[in-house]
C-alpha cells in the first residue's frame, strides 16, 4: 500500500485543549462538514467544554433534533447534552438577517431603512454569491466578541470549493469597493481627474442606456443603493480583515473534511496548501464516510470467484457471465419493449430476497424491471444463494475499500504531514443526537478499533 503513513489526528486532544477556541470545518459540498461540526460540538460539550456550534444549512431533521430549526439567528442551548460543566449551544445561520443587522449596526437609522428597502440590497443580501460566506465570518466574529463560550465550532457554507470560504468575503468586499460603484457614487470626482475623462462619458452613456433599457426608477434605485453602501465600505473592509486575522490566531484550528473520493480529496489538497500559504493553522483532515470490512483477508476476486461457483451449482443453465449491455444506440429490438428484457444477465431473483442482478455492478436496476418491494419467501432461500449474495456484497465492499485506499494514499503522498482522522460511514443518515455521538466516537477512536468492535 502506501509508503507514507499519515499521523493520526487526535480529536480529543484538540477538543480538550483549553487553548483551542475556534474550530472551523471546511471542505467541498456534501462531504459532511455540518455533521462533523455538530458531532464535535456534542463531543466537546460532553467532555466538559462550553461550546457553541454555528451550523449553516443543516439537514432539516438534524436541525430539528438539535432544536435549532426555528431560524432566529441566536444560539440556543441544546438540552440533554453536557457533563462536567459542559454545555452545548447551537444555531443555524440566517444570512439575510445577519446582513440586515450589520446594516442596522453600521448606518444611522434613516439610512439603514433606505438600504433595507432598496431592491438591489434585497437581492444582494438574499443571493449574492459569497454573501453566505461573508455572513458566516461576520457571525463568527460576533460570537467570538461575546466571549460567552470557550469553544466555537463553525460549519462553512455548502459551496463547491472549500476555498470559497476564504475568498468569498474578499470578493464581496472588493465588489462593494469596486470601480464602478465609485463611479456611480461620484462621477464628477472621478471624471475630474486627469486621464479619467472617458469615465464621465461612459457614465452618462451608461446612465442613459440603463434608463432607456430598464427605466429611470431602476437607475435611481441603483444610485441610492450605491450611495447607501458607500457609507459602509469602511465597515465591511475592517470587519472582514479582523475576522481573517482571527482565523490566523493561535486558538484557531481548521479541520478539512473530505470524503474518500477523488474530487473531494483534490479539493482538500488545494485547501491544505492554501491554509499553509495564508498561515492559517491546520489541525488535520477528517476523512468521512470511509468503509471498512471485518473480512479484509478475503479479496474481492476470490469472493467473486466463490460466488460464481455457488451460482453455477444453483442454476447451471444461467451463468451470469453474459456480456454487459453497453452498446449505443440500443439495439432496435429495444424499441417499445420492456427494457428489462434487453438486459442480458438480469436474473430475477426477487422471490428469494435477491432484488437485483447478481453481478453487483454491471447492470442497472430499472424501475420497471423489478419491483423492489417484492418480499422474499424464506422457504425458497437456499443457503447457497444466501452465501453467494454475501460474497457478492463483500466483493463490492472490497472494491470500494480499494478505491478509497488509493485516493487516500494519493493525498498522503502529497501531504504526508497532515494528521488524519477517519470516520466510518454509517449505513443511514445522521439526523439525531445519538447519530452525532456515534460520529463523535468514530472521530476520536481509530478506525481499526471501531471496525473490530463492529465485526
Amino acid at each position: 500500500m502506501s509508503m507514507d503513513v499519515a499521523p493520526r489526528l487526535d480529536i480529543d486532544v484538540l477538543l480538550d485543549d483549553p487553548e483551542t477556541r475556534i474550530v472551523v470545518c471546511c471542505g467541498s459540498g456534501g462531504v459532511g462538514k455540518t455533521t462533523t461540526a455538530a458531532a464535535l460540538g456534542v463531543r466537546a460539550a460532553e467532555r466538559g467544554r462550553k461550546v457553541v456550534v454555528l451550523t449553516i444549512d443543516p439537514a432539516r431533521r438534524l436541525a430539528q433534533s438539535m432544536g435549532i430549526d426555528a431560524l432566529d439567528n441566536i444560539p440556543r442551548r441544546v438540552e440533554g447534552i453536557g457533563g462536567d460543566g459542559g454545555e452545548l449551544h447551537a444555531m443555524m445561520l440566517d444570512m439575510k438577517r445577519t446582513f440586515d443587522e450589520f446594516v442596522e449596526a453600521h448606518a444611522d437609522p434613516e439610512r439603514a431603512r433606505a438600504i433595507l428597502a432598496n431592491p438591489f440590497y434585497q437581492s444582494l443580501s438574499a443571493g449574492f454569491a459569497g454573501t453566505q460566506e461573508y455572513m458566516a465570518m461576520e457571525k463568527l466574529g460576533q460570537l467570538r466578541a461575546r466571549d460567552e463560550w470557550d469553544l466555537i465550532i463553525v460549519d462553512t457554507p455548502p459551496s463547491r470549493s472549500a476555498l470559497d470560504f476564504l475568498d468569498a468575503p474578499k470578493r464581496l468586499g472588493s465588489f462593494l469597493d469596486g470601480k464602478f460603484i465609485k463611479v456611480l457614487m461620484a462621477p464628477a470626482k472621478v471624471g475630474g481627474r486627469a486621464g479619467m475623462k472617458f469615465l464621465n462619458v461612459g457614465v452618462s452613456m451608461m446612465t442613459g442606456t440603463v434608463s432607456k433599457v430598464l427605466g429611470g426608477q431602476l437607475m435611481r434605485d441603483v444610485q441610492t443603493f450605491a450611495a447607501a453602501m458607500d457609507t459602509m465600505f469602511g465597515g465591511f473592509r475592517t470587519r472582514a480583515e479582523a475576522t481573517y486575522r482571527l482565523l490566523q490566531a493561535p486558538g484557531t484550528a481548521f479541520l478539512v473534511v473530505a470524503a474518500p473520493e477523488r474530487d473531494a480529496l483534490r479539493e482538500a489538497a488545494y485547501f491544505v496548501e492554501r491554509l499553509a500559504a495564508d498561515q492559517m493553522p491546520l489541525a488535520g483532515l477528517v476523512l468521512n464516510r470511509v468503509h471498512g470490512s471485518g473480512a479484509e483477508q478475503l479479496s474481492a476476486e476470490r469472493a467473486l470467484a466463490a460466488a460464481e461457483i455457488l451460482s453455477l451449482a444453483i442454476d447451471p443453465a444461467d451463468p451470469d457471465d453474459a456480456p454487459a449491455n453497453a452498446d449505443y444506440p440500443p439495439a432496435n429490438a429495444a424499441e417499445g419493449s420492456d427494457p428489462a428484457k434487453n438486459r442480458p444477465g438480469t436474473e430475477n431473483l426477487a422471490d428469494c430476497g435477491f432484488v437485483d442482478p447478481p453481478s453487483g455492478n454491471a447492470q442497472a436496476r430499472n424501475p420497471s424491471a423489478a419491483d423492489p418491494d417484492v418480499s422474499p419467501t424464506s422457504a425458497d432461500t437456499s443457503a447457497e444463494r444466501l452465501a453467494a449474495g454475501l460474497l457478492r456484497l463483500h466483493a463490492e465492499r472490497m472494491q470500494v475499500l480499494g478505491r478509497e485506499q488509493r485516493t487516500h494514499d494519493r493525498f498522503t503522498a502529497l501531504h504526508p504531514e497532515v494528521p488524519v482522522a477517519q470516520v466510518a460511514a454509517l449505513p443511514g443518515d445522521v439526523h439525531d443526537l445519538a447519530g452525532l455521538r456515534a460520529i463523535g466516537e468514530r472521530l476520536a477512536v481509530p478506525l481499526e478499533r471501531t471496525k473490530r468492535a463492529a465485526g
Binding site: 456534501g30 465588489f175 472617458f198 461457483i309 444506440p329 428469494c352 436496476r365 443457503a383
Partner: protein, 325 residues
C-alpha cells in the same frame, strides 16, 4: 412534447452529467440537440474532454444514426452585450461599459437581470428556425442551477418585475416567461436515494408547482444494486449459519467447522449484509417518497469507475430506453 429540458437537482447529484446524457439520448435518430450551461464552470467541456467552450454554439458530439449534440456556455456579459447590440447598436460603448465593470456590476446586483439574459438565450435557441422553416434544434437541454435557486432562476418575470416595470427588458422577461411556463418546457430533477437530495427534490417540485412552472421527470442517479434485503439477512443469520458456512466451504473458502476460515467469515459477512440491508431499506423509503411526487421516475446506475465518455454514452443509452417517446 417538450423541447426545452431544464435539468436541476441538489449540488453534486449529477446535474451536468445527466444533462449531457439526456442531450445525447435526445440526439438519437439523426436529431440535433443543444446542450447549454449557464454557470460559467465549463462542466460540459470537461465532461466531453474538449477545450473550454467559447460563447458560441459548436458541435461537441455525434451519435450513431447521424445525430448531433451542440453545446453553448452562456455567459451573462456576452449575452447582455449581444442584447444591447441587437436593440441599441451599442458597439464600442458596450465595450466601455464592460471595461468599467458596469455589466458585471449590473448582473451581480440584479441576479434577475442576469437570469433573464441566460434563460432568454436558451429560449431563443428553442424557437430558432432555419431557412427551411424547421427548428434548428429538435431540443435544448440546460444544465441549470441547483434546486435551491431554480425557481427564482426560471421565474425571471417576477424577479425583473420589481426592477423594470416597463420597457424592453420587461417585455423580454415576459416573452421568456411565456416559453418557460408552456408545455414546451419541462423541468427535471436529479436526485440520489438519500435523505437530503430527496427532500430538496420534493421542496423544489412543490415550489415549481406553486409558481406554475412545468415539471418533467425525476432522475434517480448513481443507483447501486440491491443484493440482499433484511429478510434474507435474517434468514441467513437465524438458523442458516451452519448451512451458509458449508456453502462457503464448498466454494473453496476453507473449513466450515468451528474455527475454520469459512465459519469465521460468516459473522463479518453477515454484518456487512446487515448494513447493506439497512441501506436498501432506507433507499426504499426514499424511493417511496419520490413515487409520491407523482412524476415519472428514471434511474441511472452508479458507474463505479467514474464517468468518462464511454460511461456518458452508456448513461445516455440507459436514459433513452426509459424516456417517453
Amino acid at each position: 412534447m417538450s423541447r426545452l429540458h431544464v435539468v436541476s437537482g441538489k449540488g453534486g447529484t449529477g446535474k451536468t452529467t445527466v444533462a449531457a446524457a439526456l442531450a445525447l439520448a435526445l440526439a438519437a435518430d439523426g436529431r440535433r440537440t443543444l446542450l447549454v450551461e449557464v454557470e460559467g464552470r465549463q462542466g460540459i467541456a470537461q465532461l466531453f474532454e474538449t477545450e473550454p467552450l467559447p460563447y458560441e454554439e459548436r458541435k461537441i458530439a455525434t451519435t450513431p444514426g447521424g445525430g448531433e449534440v451542440h453545446a453553448l456556455a452562456i455567459d451573462p456579459e456576452f449575452a447582455l452585450l449581444d442584447y444591447l447590440h441587437m436593440f441599441y447598436k451599442l458597439g464600442s460603448a458596450g465595450r466601455a461599459l464592460k471595461k468599467l465593470g458596469a455589466i458585471d456590476f449590473a448582473t451581480t446586483i440584479a441576479p434577475g437581470l442576469r437570469d433573464v439574459l441566460l434563460t432568454g438565450k436558451a429560449c431563443e435557441a428553442v424557437r430558432r428556425k432555419g431557412k427551411d422553416g424547421r427548428f434548428v434544434y429538435d431540443s435544448v437541454v440546460m444544465d441549470a442551477p441547483p434546486t435551491g435557486r431554480i425557481t427564482r432562476f426560471l421565474n425571471v418575470n417576477d424577479e425583473v418585475a420589481g426592477l423594470a416595470r416597463t420597457g424592453p427588458i420587461h417585455n423580454q422577461a415576459q416573452a421568456v416567461m411565456r416559453v418557460l411556463k408552456s408545455p414546451q418546457t419541462a423541468v427535471h430533477m436529479v436526485t440520489l436515494l438519500e435523505e437530503m437530495p430527496v427532500q430538496e427534490t420534493a421542496d423544489g417540485i412543490a415550489e415549481l408547482r406553486a409558481d406554475g412552472l412545468p415539471t418533467g421527470g425525476v432522475i434517480i442517479n448513481m443507483v447501486r444494486p440491491a443484493i440482499l434485503d433484511h429478510e434474507a439477512v435474517e434468514v441467513a443469520a437465524n438458523g442458516q449459519r451452519a448451512a451458509v458456512a458449508k456453502a462457503l466451504s464448498q466454494a473453496g473458502l476453507g473449513g466450515a467447522r468451528r474455527g475454520g476460515m469459512a465459519e469465521r467469515l460468516v459473522d463479518p459477512l453477515l454484518e456487512q449484509a446487515r448494513e447493506h440491508a439497512e441501506r436498501v431499506a432506507l433507499e426504499r423509503a426514499q424511493r417511496a417518497e419520490l413515487t409520491g411526487l407523482g412524476l415519472p421516475l428514471h434511474e441511472l446506475e452508479l458507474l463505479t469507475d467514474g464517468i468518462d465518455l464511454a460511461g456518458l454514452y452508456r448513461l445516455a443509452t440507459d436514459l433513452r430506453k426509459q424516456w417517453p417517446t
